[in-house]
Symmetry: C2
Subunit: 366 residues, 2 copies
Amino acid sequence: MPRLAGVATISFARGIPAPECLPVSELADCAKEALERDGSVALSYGSTLGYAPLREWLAERHGVEPGRVLVTNGSLQAFHFVLEAVGGEGRGVLVERPTYDRPRKILAAAGVELGEIPVDADGLDVDALERVEGPPAAFLYTIPTFQNPTGSTLSPDRRGRLAELVRSRRLPVLEDDPYGLVRFEGDPLPSVFELEGGIDVMYSSSFSKTIAPGLRVGYAIVPEALASELEDLVASTYITPALLAQATVYEFLRRGLFEPNLERVRGLLRARRDAMLEALDRELDGRARWNRPEGGYFLWLELPGGADAAELLTHAAEGGVTFVPGVDFGGQPNSMRLAFSFVSPAEIDEGVRRLAGLLAATPAAV
Amino acid sequence: MPRLAGVATISFARGIPAPECLPVSELADCAKEALERDGSVALSYGSTLGYAPLREWLAERHGVEPGRVLVTNGSLQAFHFVLEAVGGEGRGVLVERPTYDRPRKILAAAGVELGEIPVDADGLDVDALERVEGPPAAFLYTIPTFQNPTGSTLSPDRRGRLAELVRSRRLPVLEDDPYGLVRFEGDPLPSVFELEGGIDVMYSSSFSKTIAPGLRVGYAIVPEALASELEDLVASTYITPALLAQATVYEFLRRGLFEPNLERVRGLLRARRDAMLEALDRELDGRARWNRPEGGYFLWLELPGGADAAELLTHAAEGGVTFVPGVDFGGQPNSMRLAFSFVSPAEIDEGVRRLAGLLAATPAAV
């Protein structure tokens, strides 16, 4: 196809919020107030497991003791800590397939054996998990709600069965839930953490999708004994987390800005998802399949069997649109992740048009 | 000795700045301005190797390309990255003895073999380094200026010889220099990085001692190829560093607040060092030996041979004063680190009086 000269590429690759999602001026005020009110704490060492008022807020929200809350520089850092503390290196870790590429890479780099459990339209295949044999894994890493990369959500029935399975097998789980609050339709589902009671299920989330990713404020709820154990590891990694951002988030919460901001962000993302679904219906009906996530950042698109999304991507720059091939997440070659979070609804419309053009122009890949 | 009932312990253990060192209200203004001016960058993902304007400022200050500057969540995090990238695990790392306890622990936890080079009143014993044989170490970790824990500074002569040795042997060095700018008397010395030209010497420092530790803004200057290599490792660790703090530091620098703040901090620390030296002269003359650092946070005190500072510490709570025994840093049993950075001059005076009382009351330890 002809190269789109001088036209900016439209990114369905970047799983980041659109700039208008970021509550910039509110955060500017909150940062100032946070330092004026509690600067001597926020600007000093200490608070190894996170800014105390924020730990308390999170503890109350999740109905746990503050001693179980670990606030980190983004939730990926919490994943590292849990992995190191739980000792995944020796025992293998169960993950979804496909799943978020960063944990996959971290586990591979650490030489951890992966046990992969398929994800379908209803989320993690709990039957397949039940059939897993061999020595017990260190833990199961799962993203049950608006999963990265598929946008799939674990169904209510499977949630209950997963919680039961965890109870009966004492299988440790790390439930990663960064997108759960970014639901723009349908009823919220209980987390696996809630259903199981938070005994063997650990829970991680962050304010990256609900306030701003650059703040790098993530957290994990772990057993209290593990939190104490982690104190040394955290101190040995960075002494103290980034407290200015944590105190700023706390101020944002304290002012009651969180829920209204979440409503605003949900609206912005819903408009983007709708734009993507409409454009896909118009441009690709019958030529590909995709899902309809009720929240989050992503949808999952499958080309006809035999198609190669990675090959297609090599032509993407010419086509003026980009995405992440499913294989990067452990998915099938004919799949791709489309992020609707970053670009505007108009750009989404145009981007899907370009994607359709790209598909039409590169039959070898399809 | 009688327990000091109801009296707060005076800490010579905490190597942190006194609360009055922290420029709280200036930072509050800077945080607000930083977000208002550049919030869409500071609040989003990206900037893996650090906030670009801050990287440029640091590059100019150190006379290097911005591509060589890695800004991290505190400089300890930079130590981890360098260790992992340079592959210290397989080859051993040279460190000073005594040295900063956190890197010692990190290296021990990673199973890295330590080659230890003594430190004396003139800093690292370069003759001893020259005599080291066997397969080359991955790198030498050194704190040449106002070292943690001893407060020793590498003499001008030894600096030149170390730079020469690095050149002739191509020995990689990580020069950690968090205290260099906190000099309150004497002329500044060139860094080993400057003397050697920054070929095999990497340099790390932070704004923890010059602005505020809770900001967690540290940095390393590394070869450009290494910086590119580190991009993946950094992204895989925390995606993006804590940009709000980095943008706040940049705003502080941009407003010209750095040098005046440094002068203020130097004055506060000088008064503390002076109070400690005066009190030691008065209370412990002839009963212990100590040095007179021209900057930094610490001095090093040696009890008579045969004394046991760790044993003494077990009585410290009763004595109302605390410190870190030298053995925690790899030092001799009769040594201790006294931090004059945290408590007030009046508390320092009282704390040394208590320390003298503790020594008098526990002859078994001395």
